[in-house]
Amino acid sequence: MIATHDNILEVRHLSNRYEGRPLLRDVGFSLRQGEILSLLGPSGSGKTTLLRLLAGLETSDEGTVLFRGRDIADIPPHRRKFGMMFQEYALFPHMSVRQNVAFGLEMLHCPAREQAERVDAVLGMVGLTDFGHRHINELSGGERQRVALARSLAPEPELLLLDEPLGSLDRILRDRLATEIRAILKKLGVTAIFVTHDQAEAFSVADKIAVLRHGQLQQFDTPERLYRRPANVTVARFLGFTNLLAGRLDDSGYFQAEFGRLPVPNAGHAKEAATLLLRPEGARLRVLDDDAADNPRITGTVIARVFQGGTYRLTLQCGDTPLSFDLPIDPPPPAVGEPIDLVLNPAGLIVIDKEIPPPG
């Protein structure tokens, strides 16, 4: 791989083990100035380890991390000028909000006046203008989160690392703060990497997403591409897709499943063992004299119908496999036990790789 100058961060073949157990295996990706990357994965996938490796709080066993083209292995964490926002924030309990935010500036020996201005500025940015003299114990969860963000932003880090920054907040607050964090980071043009296990959060904040599982990088892509084309079954499952059919792809562009075959456009070469993903929103009820007659169709019996507000989640039995689709509430889909005939959107059918087996 050749270092290109637009890439601010390059991670190459990074591996790490803890007491013989591999935590990261050959992870590599790169990031451009100002991009926000989300490390997405279930707990134990190695995402926090990767973040701490980048921060310098852990050391890697193999691989290199280049920052602005320079290997940073020998730079101790406090000299890297990376900021980090911790899970549950790690705010200093014996200091006020202001002292917390000023700490990083003090470490830079920033003159007092400049410090004060900068602290006011970041506190204003996170909407805590009058909170400077509050004690940490007096803050709510959302306020603590803002203080932590302000503290990590105050010294103007070259790379901001966020470890599950919204993990301990409730759903509504999370959604609001996720959007706010993105707005602030984009306004400042900060390059950032944040760890999360919540795909909705990753989609709403990140420019790029790296999906990790069992310490392996499964896919590195933009949120949209990730959703449209999950690289393998692991990623697809993690994104919440359940309609996964095992089968084979023949050379005439048909996917052979156990209950029949479906045409898949642009699927590429024939594959003996492949998986077909049917996206849940890619189906509609077939009506008489349907114009899209050549679109793939699927028929079966409705076994469950759950009203979800804007849509029905309809599960049909089709051979041995239950498949679920989100259908509009009009026209009302058939009731449980009745036959159903669906037209599939060809773009909603994706042939993906099989699951990558866990190491060891």
Binding site: H78, P93, M107, R151, P155
Partner: protein
């Protein structure tokens, strides 16, 4: 709450209150009376003279001074140990942790005996040095000096500081340090600006506790310091037992009580403060392996120091008990079974073991019964003024055993409470000393039981008695057992009160050891070592049992943190 339930609680609680009134407040009040009315007339002049006298000013000053110095030395020795324990994993950590509980539970008399067996004129080290270098006199002359008991104080309190500060340190959220690092702080800056300020409450609390223990130190000062040194406690003992100057002893006790209460109050305030919420779950402060040579040296140095400080006196004690000039022998143990040629006992010394076990069983039963009576009252309605009663029954913790013992001999010596010649005084005193510890074992467990469990049992058809049996007792059984063993072990090692109230013909083991140590001659010394070894084994076995009980099954967790931090004052 129903009226009958309230009545039941008070009915159960009142015997405990009566017990406290008679065997705690009455003796203390008597001390007060004795110091103000020495001859049954109002004569505060005695107290005046005392406070004005330079001798007693010196004693008070010396007591403060030696406690301060002991505290400083202990902190100096123990803080690196706390760091090592909090931050690193190393080979043998569990073993050393187990070894560190030994000083907690060692009776003071045994500690004194152990140090004399190591560093005394006939101690192991001196004998060895004399033999090796053919010296005319023992080169280490530390016996009967202040350094001897200061060393014993460090031995006693080292593990206390390591435990309090170490566990607090390990519990500090490691991410705070990482956060400071990420904000550009070097490891020194991180320590100075983050770690140290956060540790200060724990260090302060530990230091104050060490100060209190050293301020009220009795056994080791009396034995190791010799006649040249007197803390308040020792002086009370001398005035009362050797000089029979009861008013003077009473006046000194009064000062002791006042200072003690003040210190305990301070400690209660400080430890409440230090518990404010920045202790994360233990997992976040995970200890790691040492990675650099410097750190390995620090760890190895600390382990060596701990082993030397904690293990050598005990090893010397055991060794001295089984060896004479000619080699290994069980003669000292055998001598414990004979009365011949022994003028300091009316009975064979081994009877002391029987006495101690008997007293300890009695004290154990009494304290568990008393606590059971009290907990029903205390565990209920915490909201309304129960903290007052909590504080009241914890008062014996703030009273030195010497004061208590002295109070007994001045208060319970005439009708209607003429117990002076009765053997009952010993288990009664021990019950009071053990009471706060037993409360701390049992009460938190009972308070943890949610009321909904009892309500659920009631709605499933359980009568109040079966609720008590199937819910409260079933859940608290382990805590009650722990409390019982605790009381037993405390009673076995108690010396301060026993030195006043034990009858000459029925000595307890610590009293017997003290008498042996006060007599010249190899046989007496050897018997002191032998009996100390037995006592050490008994108390260690007791606390080993507590440790086992604590881990016994997956029963609702009783918080053991509190009681481990109280060192026994025995």
């Amino acid at each position: 709450m129903s009226r009958s339930r309230l009545l039941r609680r008070w009915l159960l609680f009142s015997p405990v209150l009566a017990f406290f009134a008679l065997f705690y407040f009455y003796p203390l009040a008597k001390i007060g009376l004795l110091s103000f009315f020495p001859d049954s007339t109002w004569n505060p002049g005695q107290l005046h003279r005392l406070l004005g006298s330079p001798v007693y000013g010196r004693i008070l000053w010396f007591t403060f001074w030696q406690a301060g110095l002991s505290t400083a030395l202990t902190l100096f020795a123990a803080l690196p140990g706390a760091y090592v324990f909090a931050r690193y994993r190393f080979f043998g950590k569990d073993l050393i942790a187990a070894l560190m509980t030994v000083p907690f539970v060692l009776p003071t008399v045994v500690t004194a005996a152990a140090f004399r067996s190591l560093l005394g004129p006939h101690g192991l080290l001196n004998t060895w040095l004399v033999d090796c270098f053919h010296l005319a006199a023992p080169p280490i002359r530390i016996d009967q000096t202040i350094w001897f008991f200061l060393l014993a104080h460090v031995f006693y309190n080292y593990s206390l500081v390591v435990r309090i500060v170490g566990s607090y340190w390990a519990g500090l959220d490691a991410r705070l340090g990482a956060a400071a690092t990420m904000l550009g702080a070097s490891s020194r800056q991180t320590f100075r600006r983050i770690t140290l300020p956060l540790l200060l409450p724990a260090i302060g609390s530990a230091a104050l506790l060490v100060f209190i223990f050293c301020f009220t130190s009795f056994g080791v000062v009396l034995i190791l310091g010799g006649p040249g040194y007197a803390t308040l406690e020792v002086e009370i003992y001398r005035q009362a037992v050797q000089l029979f100057n009861l008013p003077m002893a009473a006046a000194l006790s009064l000062i002791q009580i006042a200072v003690n209460f003040l210190l305990m109050w301070l400690h209660a305030r400080l430890s409440r403060k230090s518990r404010t919420g920045f202790i994360a779950d233990p997992a976040s402060g995970a200890a790691g392996k040492a990675d650099t040579l410097g750190r390995k040296v620090v760890i190895a140095g600390n382990i060596l120091f701990m082993t030397l400080l904690l293990a050598t006196p005990l090893a010397a004690l055991v060794l001295q008990s089984i060896s004479s000039g000619e080699g290994l022998t069980l003669a000292y143990y055998r001598a414990l079974f004979t009365t011949a040629g022994n003028s300091i006992f009316f009975v064979e010394p081994i009877a002391a073991v029987g006495n101690s076990v008997g007293f300890a069983m009695l004290a154990m039963m009494l304290s568990v019964v008393a606590v059971s009576f009290a907990t029903d009252f205390l565990a209920a309605d915490r909201a309304r003024g129960s903290s007052f009663w909590d504080a009241l029954i914890m008062l014996p913790l703030a009273t030195s055993a010497v004061t208590l013992g002295f109070g007994y001999i001045v208060a319970l010596n005439r009708p209607p409470f003429d117990l002076r010649d009765s053997l009952a005084l010993v288990p009664l005193a021990h019950t009071l000393v053990a009471f706060p510890f037993v409360v701390r074992c049992i009460l938190p467990c009972l308070r943890q039981i949610p009321e909904s469990l009892r309500e659920a049992a009631t709605l499933l058809g359980a009568s109040p008695m079966s609720v008590l049996r199937h819910i409260d007792l079933a859940i608290a059984l382990r805590a009650i057992l722990v409390g019982a063993v605790f009381a037993f072990s405390i009673s076995m090692g108690e010396f301060g009160a026993s030195s006043f109230v034990a009858r000459p013909h029925a000595p307890t083991m610590p009293v017997a050891i003290f008498r042996f140590l006060g007599q010249p001659g190899d046989l007496n010394f050897g018997q002191a070592m032998a009996m100390s070894t037995i006592l050490m084994l008994v108390t260690c076995a007791g606390f080993w049992l507590i440790g086992r009980l604590d881990r016994w099954r997956n029963w609702p967790v009783v918080s053991t943190q509190d009681k481990k931090n109280d060192r026994l004052r025995i």
